[in-house]
Symmetry: C2
Subunit: 349 residues, 2 copies
Amino acid sequence: MIEDKNQDRTTLDKLGEFGLIEHLTQHFSLQHKSSEKGIGDDAAVLDFKNKKTLVTTDLLVEGVHFDLSYMPLKHLGYKAVMVNLSDVYAMNATATHITVSIAVSNRFPLEALDELYEGIAFACTKHKVDLIGGDTTSSTTGLLISVTALGEANSANITYRTGAKPNDLLVVSGDLGGAYMGLQVLEREKEVFKVNPNSQPDLEPYSYIVERQLKPEARNDISGLLKVLGVSPTSMIDISDGLSSEILHLCKQSEVGCNLFEEKIPLDPTVISACEEFKIDSTMVALSGGEDYELLFTVDQKDFEKIKGNPNLSIIGHMTDASEGAHLITRGNTKIPITAQGWNSFKSE
Amino acid sequence: MIEDKNQDRTTLDKLGEFGLIEHLTQHFSLQHKSSEKGIGDDAAVLDFKNKKTLVTTDLLVEGVHFDLSYMPLKHLGYKAVMVNLSDVYAMNATATHITVSIAVSNRFPLEALDELYEGIAFACTKHKVDLIGGDTTSSTTGLLISVTALGEANSANITYRTGAKPNDLLVVSGDLGGAYMGLQVLEREKEVFKVNPNSQPDLEPYSYIVERQLKPEARNDISGLLKVLGVSPTSMIDISDGLSSEILHLCKQSEVGCNLFEEKIPLDPTVISACEEFKIDSTMVALSGGEDYELLFTVDQKDFEKIKGNPNLSIIGHMTDASEGAHLITRGNTKIPITAQGWNSFKSE
């Protein structure tokens, strides 16, 4: 689907590892005061002073997490960073630094890696994080990206998965299910393309959900928004595997139960119409779709008025005593136990 | 060469990602005061107080960096950690935390990953570092390990590659070339094994160099030794790619030249005899072999008496003005320019 318009190809063996790192990182500069030394020594040196340091890491594997037949490399670089920053934001913290390691087969020319790093650079600029290290090596097949993100926070602000209490309100940012439905559209177009390589897919009506899949945006705004609203979340997690899986994490780690209201789950109109077209239940998509990178958190009931009606936030349920379990209350007022249908990369389809 | 004695095999899809992480990390505990939260939330939380934070990362790929036909998984886990800790030690710092991410194909049963994590756990215990996070996912082929190491140091102790001055002495810990010659022995035995699968290799005479290859030990003792000796290194790097490549890094980044004396390069007797057996020049092996994970550093000339004769350290040369370039002075007193023959994973053999 993606035509290679760039006919200039530089093979990677010409540069060697040090030359490649130098080439790929030449336009990155350090913005954070805490970055004392970035790329170029055995290790980076950071100074977080009196703040706490956050660390998280994620691995993206070609053929498992992404398909280069419809994922432009620039978007892939952007997404690989977002996936990690989202984990820092889910601690109610600020992201500050990343390291990026890639394993890449010789079939990729330098120009392809340039595109990948363009996306990484764009993510760094937009989210104000410094690239401070990494490793590049060859792989026997495909592309693999390993990102580690660091962040900082004042001790009092860090929000764990463990702090939810019975009667706390369950809140989610943005809307859900878009990334999954975007993937369905892309997979369908890929099949069409296989049959007819001259087909020109019209993705315009699906642009919102396709973008949710290809270029997700980690929610670095929620921490600030909650501060402005005067709300301290009691627990927080990001939605990478689907709403049900994340709710169960909060319940298990906070030792509480939950009532989730189907009618309150925020869905974009594009998601609803795509679900109708694909004949998939939109609630199932929100519960199990994953990759939305929205934030899911709990707040004390006294904060109801502060949250209510905020266009960025939806109150979708409340926590209960652990003994009550975790349930979805359907539109028809039926109570269904929530089970994790999250994605398992080890499962053979 | 390595017989699978364990006939119990648990497939990874049974556990799923969360189950797998929980299983693999259940016996790890946090030892560092700075570890406020390890595995189990969106990110780990660390408190380095008034110390600086060091960050480094490395990627090990099956078929590129290791060959499982002679690399036991337990040793691989140990080595993957050592490679990273070595980079922290090369800043004259203390290693404190690691994250470990793995991509693994379904051909690996759970028991294989248990062995890998046994080696990781042993490395953590021996080097007093806490495992605080990671990611596990499937790969379409083989095994890939991505480790990020964090460390801490007082500002005054951090040693960069940039501080060497003309007339500084060039010092190396331990001895060189062992890891490379160990690899030659293992590769030879692998070829023998292909022809005759019943062959029982006698690796006893090569045990030192085979261990240098399979189970290298990062030098966490040098920083303390230098403190005891009252020596502040002016620049430092670890030897992962071979002595010549690392010397050139120090020269380039410190803007100095170097005279390296062939007769001073420390070689273990096993390395010398293996070089004779394989008909390889031992100086070439030390210069270009790599993977020894010894530390290479410079000290002021006034520290000569403190370093001289120390069994852990060898003075192998001195730095010069940049205009003089970097040279090897051979036993026959010939001056040869040092060129990097370091390993390039992108080069097709």
